[in-house]
């Protein structure tokens, strides 16, 4: 709605909106258009695979720089996410999934700041939904595998130590929260952070340009300031990109450990 009616001039500032994420197809395969984020997904998978493959081949007792980097990166996920969250008993079999997930999301997020790419893959919600769908299958799958279908449902929906009278209220709520909403918030968290960060960057960059071009002397001072802020926001975004990849993998580990937990 219009907050204030004002005549729209040609040089009025157009604030960036959700429209900036609708990229045209880079090329067509059959009737299916292939867009930039799709290519980035493939590229990120390749980058992660090649890095760890190269780091893990030619292992030596005295590690090369590449091997050392690979081992440091891997042990960050292994110890910080796997062992501390899932527990030393059965974290080993989830490590391939968790480390692949973390580095895949991390590389995709860093694409938002990487020159020449500068587009966060997960600012397209569909990509994040697919990733959250995979993690939904994983944590429910391992839960059903360990406890059986009804045992797992009971674990997730019946909180222990609650009087029977309140259970009819709690069971639907817990089911809704643990089975239905979890993957949605998981996907939306990643998506919204990338989306908002990219919009913020575009706003500062285009806003600065607009100020310099159309606002005279005041704009010539304020515009470069906006660009300085854009650089600052880009560094903040680097932090957010890492944090969101970490949170995504951490929540996956927590959901898995919750699904594996023994009943008390």
């Amino acid at each position: 709605m219009n907050v204030a009616a004002s005549p729209v001039r040609a040089e009025d500032f157009q604030a960036p909106g959700p429209g900036i994420f609708d990229l045209p197809a880079a090329f067509q395969v059959g009737s299916q258009g292939i867009t930039k984020p799709m290519l980035q997904l493939v590229l990120a998978a390749l980058v992660v695979f090649v890095f760890f493959y190269a780091a893990a081949s030619r292992r030596a007792m005295v590690p090369s720089k590449l091997q050392y980097a690979g081992e440091t990166a891997y042990s960050f996920v292994r110890n910080g996410l796997g062992r501390d969250i899932i527990g030393s008993h059965d974290f080993q079999r989830f490590l391939p999934y968790l480390s692949a997930l973390f580095f895949f999301v991390l590389v995709n997020n860093i694409f938002a700041t990487l020159p020449f790419i500068q587009f966060p893959t997960f600012s397209r919600a569909g990509m994040a939904y697919a990733l959250a769908g995979v993690s939904w299958l994983v944590y429910n799958g391992v839960g059903v595998q360990k406890h059986g279908f009804f045992g797992y449902l009971k674990l997730q929906t019946v909180p222990s130590g609650v009087s029977k009278a309140i259970l009819p209220l709690l069971i639907p709520l817990e089911f809704f929260s643990n089975i239905v909403v979890r993957p949605i918030t998981l996907a939306l968290r990643l998506f919204a952070n990338m989306f908002a960060g990219h919009i913020l960057l575009v706003l500062f960059a285009t806003g600065g340009l607009y100020l310099i071009q159309h606002q005279g002397l005041l704009g010539a001072v304020a515009g470069p300031l906006a660009w300085v802020l854009a650089v600052a926001v880009a560094f903040l975004e680097l932090l957010v990109q890492f944090l969101q990849a970490y949170v995504f993998a951490l929540l996956n580990a927590m959901y898995i450990s919750g699904a594996l937990a023994d009943e008390h």
Binding site: V3, P18, D84, I85, R189, L250, L251
Partner: protein
């Protein structure tokens, strides 16, 4: 000036999670200051709390664009 009231609503809705995230990290810093060796355990809990509080802001921004 064109605009959308949804964005003002979202700004208001983000106050709650903002305060919440501040409280979570205040408690985390307090805890680490009192017991630095517990940082590893506290960090995971703090990040989880942060993620849960942030979920509200995220639902807000999604609805701000959808409604």
């Amino acid at each position: 000036m064109d605009g959308n009231l949804n964005m003002i609503g979202y700004g208001l809705a983000a106050i709650g999670p903002g305060v919440g995230i501040g409280l979570i990290f205040a408690a985390y810093i307090n805890g680490v200051a009192r017991q630095p060796e517990a940082q590893g355990r506290l960090q995971a809990i703090a990040i989880l709390g942060f993620a849960l509080a942030e979920a509200l802001a995220i639902i807000g921004i999604a609805l701000a664009f959808v409604l």
